[in-house]
Amino acid sequence: MSTPAPYSYRRILRRETHSSRAVPAITVAVAVILLCAYAGTEIVLMMLNRRALLAAPQDMLTTLGTLGSAPVAAPVTIGILLMLAGILLLIGALTPGRRARHQIPSGRAAVVVDNEVIASALARQAAHAGNANPDNTVVSVSAHRAIVHLTPTSGTPVQSDAIKEAVQQQLAAFELYPPVRASVVIAAAGKVGS
């Protein structure tokens, strides 16, 4: 058996934990294609001396040329909407776009876990430690935090420390990257018969 060459998972892990921005890119491309198709149709119709769909290209240019003396309401509205769309696109393009996933260290492979799976594992653990029904345990996991909301069963005492301990122990065992800190919130009022 040949010695396995160390393989760097850096690129793969980065790509698996960040969005590819394919959705905004494709949306924008489709929008531009539609716009081009419309402009092309108007030009062809004009060259064939047919009636325009909305406005003939020359009329559009004329409107653009006389914009300085046209009423302001429409240009302002359209302008502000365009600016808004542009800003949203720029934000989308320039933010890192982290996906709801974490890495788990492994000797054999690169591992990414959906936050959802982490949350559901923590919920089971917390419910077990708190003698509560897992269905009354809601866990939300974000990049750096896990918040456990637990509604105790009426009549069953709940040790908040024990729950916290259990959740923290499990999180430590997961060795998530980026690391996640847990907090436990226990509802004041219990639920009957769960």
């Binding site: 040949s2 905004p24 006389t66 302008g79 365009l82 696109l89 720029l90 000797g107 492979a109």
Partner: protein
Amino acid sequence: MNNTNRALNRAVVIVIGLLTLLAGAALAAIATVAAVRTDYRKEAPAAHADLSGWFKAVPLFGTGTSWGWILILAALVLIVVLLLVFIFRQGHGHHDILLREDATPSGATVIDADVAQQAIQHDLDGRPELLASHVSTYDVRGTPVLKVSVTCRRGESPRRATQLVENTLTALDTLLGRQIPALIQISGGFRARLSRRTRVAGTARAR
């Protein structure tokens, strides 16, 4: 895992976003900023006249239209084609060959990606902790890389799932005599949400 050009995706969004922003800002400025409006009123008709003059200067035979429009049409078609190429370039990167051994006097060895895919899947399908698994092979910068995606049962520890898949991969390593780089993706998803919490069909407490 696929070889989508992410920098290009972002670049396209940035360029179109900037253009949209600038067009919007220009429209709003012409309508509201007095100085810009005056200037525009002064300059725009001349520019418009120049443009119309240029269209008239390049007539398309006797048809009453202009080569200018043909040029613009060609530019539009070019943009559309480029964008279509861009759209269909997304994704891709699947690979059919897992391993290719250099030829020896007795011949060459090629191992199909299906071998690993079916071996891993068969091994994982029997695991009660996992609801589903899917194995595919990608070509990541010239190296075949296995992608093992598994769907966990609700409440299952991802650490445990990782271990299961790792064991399977180690068995495959022994089988092949090589270590293929692998990515393990653990997800919950719709099926996990619908599935039972535990895999023991217990004489459950009454609810």
